[in-house]
């Protein structure tokens, strides 16, 4: 079972520069744990205190998983998961 995961530039140091990696799992949480086996440190960039980080966007196919089930979103073979850092800031 393979799920394609697209990695943004800023996280490619964890994947030896690869813009796309593969993983397995039946939920997003499991998938991220699977990726962590081969790309140590990646999980901590995506998850903080058990939930998806505020300024990291994760999409299952073309939907933001925040509108699905967050880390419990079910994933399957043939799905594409895309990670994009949120673009945000401001004068504060």
């Amino acid at each position: 079972m393979a799920i394609e995961v697209r990695i943004p530039t800023i996280l490619r140091p964890y994947t030896d520069g690869a813009k796309q990696v593969e993983g397995t799992g039946s939920t997003l949480d499991e998938l991220i744990s699977d990726l962590e086996q081969r790309h140590g440190g990646l999980r901590a960039r995506l998850i903080d205190d058990g939930s998806l980080r505020r300024f990291v966007n994760v999409y299952l196919n073309d939907e933001d998983v925040r509108f699905l089930d967050g880390l419990q979103t079910k994933v399957k073979d043939g799905d594409t998961v895309t990670v994009l850092p949120a673009v945000a800031g401001g004068a504060g």
Binding site: T9, N57, D62, D64, L84, A86, V87, A88, G90
Partner: protein, 135 residues
Amino acid sequence: MLTITRELRDHIVAHARRDHPDEACGVLAGPAGSDRPRRFIPMTNAARSPTFYEFDSTEQFRVWREMDDAGEEPVVIYHSHTATEAYPSRTDIGLAAEPRAHYVLVSTRDEDRTEFRSYRIVNGEVTEEPVTILE
């Protein structure tokens, strides 16, 4: 150094003025590796705030996918400050996550003059760069 046409610069300034006093934000896309902005993409500020901006996540996905399909990348990420100077704040620096982009800051705090400055923000370090305007 940021090289940008007068037209693209004017689009950014007009967007910032239009959204004032909320912060405006957007992208200039260009061919990947060219370092030349070509396409103006104003984005919705989902925060709609005078002190914070955030791209709508679904819109960002669509725009990033379109750029990828077209062999483009975000050459410039711009936003405006509406009451403070056109310099990256700690929030701006902390959240900058596109190391290859030029971060353009515009200030609309003065209604007669718009400040337009550009920076690289890499690993938490800000470096201002000169802007060359092509007429």
